[in-house]
């Protein structure tokens, strides 16, 4: 078994790629990224210095054991899956994908669901046309490290005019803090297709002195008239760091719906961005988060409008407990020429402790006159009038608070498109809200 690396660059990136028998062009590409990783700086999230974060433990290549059927999945993984396991499902365990299942009827329609490593070999054209074009390897050091070391991963291709009703599920799971765990999800929804993708990131690391760096990325390409609903729930051990850069590129009349529970227990940087390139494209983002302990989080949503008559709506709601810190940024950018566009955003933070911190930073950057844009932000405590109202019906103070706090997050929870995951989410909320 290889040992974890902490110093790394061009050669290290290439060595890992070669050891996995990756195509020469990909080895070269990873080499470039490895080089960039030694040159670029870390990103600088607003008001949240990363200087004391352990971001240089990249782990070792520790592939999981592939299994032939869903019934053979390791128990901790099976426990995270819904009862009904016949649908489309892909599972990454530590550094590799161990299971992929795609119903025959979807295969027959030309749907591709496979590990991203496999896609690089067998669907080279689609891969090279899209992979890390929305999130590029030269954005910053974390992007370059991700580009050099990404492993396992998910590739989903939905052909033209294909509409998939049942959600496609990905479970990305780590139980080894010394493993390289850097999945990349690439979704290409061809013209007028429709798909719901549900991603769950979880870990059971136990006691460890290592820092698992979940340096992940999601890229969604919605071609003309396509609709992609992307739901994600992240919940890793508090010793891990969760990095999630999510990007969607929307062509004419395409639509993305982000439904995200950033519910990690440790430090996190997430950045969920829609690029409304095509005319008439729309984006709807809903993010919830709960801060506990001493965790520090930077949660950003972004919408960039290029096309005419494009519409974006972004909502982030966070509940902050104990000594947790969250910096919540919303960036709506309307470029010159994106006339008749409409960009709206709301950030709301509920503070449950005097030592917690929650900053809401709405930013509107408007370079076009004939547009609508709006923002609302609030940081506050549980409303005393609401508590009084519920108590006046006989409900105890603690139950009243519970109802109000859960209610605060419900606009996202109720939209999670998979019942099993919704229940899972309720359990996470109960645990985090205590």
């Amino acid at each position: 078994m290889s040992t974890p690396i902490s110093s790394f660059g061009r050669e290290a990136a290439a060595a890992i790629a070669r050891s996995k028998n990756e195509p020469a062009w990909l080895v070269a590409w990873r080499e470039e990224a490895g080089q960039l990783a030694t040159e670029l700086n870390l990103p600088k999230p607003e008001k949240l210095p990363l200087t004391r974060w352990t971001l240089d433990q990249y782990g070792a290549n520790r592939p999981g054991q592939t299994v032939a059927s869903a019934a053979d999945l390791p128990a901790p993984i099976a426990a995270l899956l819904p009862e009904e396991k016949n649908g489309a499902l892909i599972v990454q365990h530590n550094s590799s994908v161990i299971f992929t299942q795609l119903p025959e009827e979807l295969k027959a329609q030309g749907v591709i669901l496979t590990s991203l490593e496999d896609a690089a070999r067998n669907h080279e054209e689609l891969f090279r046309k899209h992979f890390m074009t929305a999130y590029t390897k030269d954005e910053h050091k974390l992007a370059a490290v991700h580009a050099a070391l990404w492993n396992g991963g998910v590739f989903l291709y939905v052909p033209k005019n294909v509409e998939i009703a049942a959600p496609i599920q990905a479970l990305l799971f780590a139980d080894d803090a010394e493993a390289t765990f850097m999945p990349h999800v690439l979704v290409v929804a061809d013209t007028h297709s429709r798909v719901t993708f549900v991603e769950q990131v979880a870990s059971t690391l136990g006691e460890t002195s290592s820092t698992l760096l979940h340096n992940s990325a999601v890229e969604v390409f919605a071609k003309a008239g396509a609709t992609v609903q992307y739901a994600a729930v992240h919940q890793l051990d508090d010793s891990a760091i969760d990095i999630a850069y999510r990007r969607a590129i929307l062509d004419n009349d395409a639509r993305i719906e982000w439904i995200v529970g950033d519910l990690h227990n440790g430090n996190a940087i997430t950045d969920t961005k829609s690029v409304l390139k095509g005319n008439g494209s729309t984006s709807d983002s809903k993010i919830i988060s709960i801060g506990t302990g001493k965790q520090r989080m930077s949660l950003t949503t972004q919408a960039v409008h290029f096309g005419l008559s494009t519409e974006s709506d972004m909502i982030t709601r966070a509940v902050m407990k104990e000594e947790a810190t969250a910096i919540i940024n919303g960036v709506t950018k309307i470029e010159k020429g994106a006339t008749k566009s409409n960009g709206q955003q709301t950030e709301r933070v509920l503070m449950l402790s005097p030592k917690a911190r929650g900053d809401a930073n709405p930013i509107l950057l408007i370079d076009e006159d004939d547009v609508k844009a709006g923002h609302a932000a609030s940081v506050g405590q549980v409303n005393a009038e609401q508590i009084y109202y519920l108590m006046s019906r006989g409900i105890s103070r603690s139950e009243a608070e519970r109802l109000i706090i859960h209610g605060f997050l419900d606009p996202v929870v109720s939209e999670i498109p998979l019942e099993g995951l919704r229940e899972q989410l309720h359990r996470i909320l109960e645990r985090k809200l205590g």
Binding site: N383, A384, E385, Q386, Y388, Y389, L390, M391, S392, R393, G394, I395, S396, R397, E399, A400, L403, I404, H406, G407, F408, L409, D410, P411
Partner: protein
């Protein structure tokens, strides 16, 4: 046991300003009392102080429900003891459905392990909503969120019907209601009149009392009950206004605690 609700010498202030200057009132089971008076005379303060709103400090007096000291109780305990206040401005609560809220309120009155069954609850709620001519979809809407003024008031009456209280206080339940809604709300209240339940209806219009006939009518001015009588008092107030009361009692400014 017939309900006995008794207020004695109740004084209450908000932010150090005394609003209630000594209220005495007894309400027995089966009785409907109306408190009338112009704006700013302390009527709503009385309702809030009885329910235990945190902004209203009770500085003197006592309140008992069937011999139990109400002022010693927290807001939720008062409700579980049988007090119900239909509020003038009910809160809107995002993410909490009307049904989940009401079920929590009912279960708060029941022992753990003896919660109301979902089916029984839904049947009950549907039945009462029908009586109040409420759209069934309001069951799953977030509590009061986006409800019109009239819908909020009906929702208050729905809660009253579901929670089966001993002493009901209606604070300006008629404000913002059109004539049809007023009739429906009044029918809801009348259907709840019972030997073991008392009502305290706060209003500044007599029109509600055309639908709900009170047994006693009290006029409030300057934070006190200044005149009491039967239903005929309400009719005279409707016909002649409040000036004759002020004249009779030598009151120039009837308000209390106004800046």
């Amino acid at each position: 046991m017939s309900t006995q609700f008794e207020i004695q010498g109740l004084k209450s202030s908000i932010e150090g300003k005394e609003i209630l200057k000594g209220i005495d009132l007894k309400i027995g089971g089966g009785e409907v009392h109306a408190i009338m008076g112009p704006n700013g005379t302390g009527k709503s303060t009385l309702a809030s102080a009885l329910m235990g709103h945190p902004k209203y400090e009770v500085t003197d007096g006592s309140v008992t429900l069937n011999g139990e000291d109400v002022l010693e109780m927290g807001v939720d305990e008062r409700a579980r003891a049988g007090l119900f206040l239909a509020m003038q401005y009910p809160s809107e609560i995002t993410g909490v459905t009307n049904a989940d809220f009401l079920r929590s309120a009912i279960n708060a009155r029941r022992e753990e392990g003896n919660e109301i069954s979902l089916i029984k609850f839904v049947r009950q709620m549907e039945g009462k909503m029908k009586e109040l001519e409420m759209n069934p979809e309001f069951m799953h809407r977030y509590l009061n969120e986006g409800f019109s003024g009239g819908e909020k008031k009906r929702n208050e009456i729905l809660q009253m019907m579901m929670l089966d209280p001993k002493l009901v206080i209606l604070d300006e339940i008629d404000s913002g209601l059109d004539i049809d809604a007023l009739r429906i709300v009044a029918e809801g209240v009348n259907a709840m009149r019972a030997e073991d339940r008392g009502f305290l209806i706060i209003t500044h219009y007599q029109r509600l009392l055309n639908y709900i006939t009170p047994d006693f009518v009290h006029v409030m001015m300057q934070g006190r009950i200044v005149k009491s009588g039967g239903p005929e008092l309400a009719q005279r107030l409707e016909a002649e206004g409040y000036d004759w009361v002020k004249e009779e009692l030598g009151i120039v400014d009837e308000t209390v605690g106004q800046a």
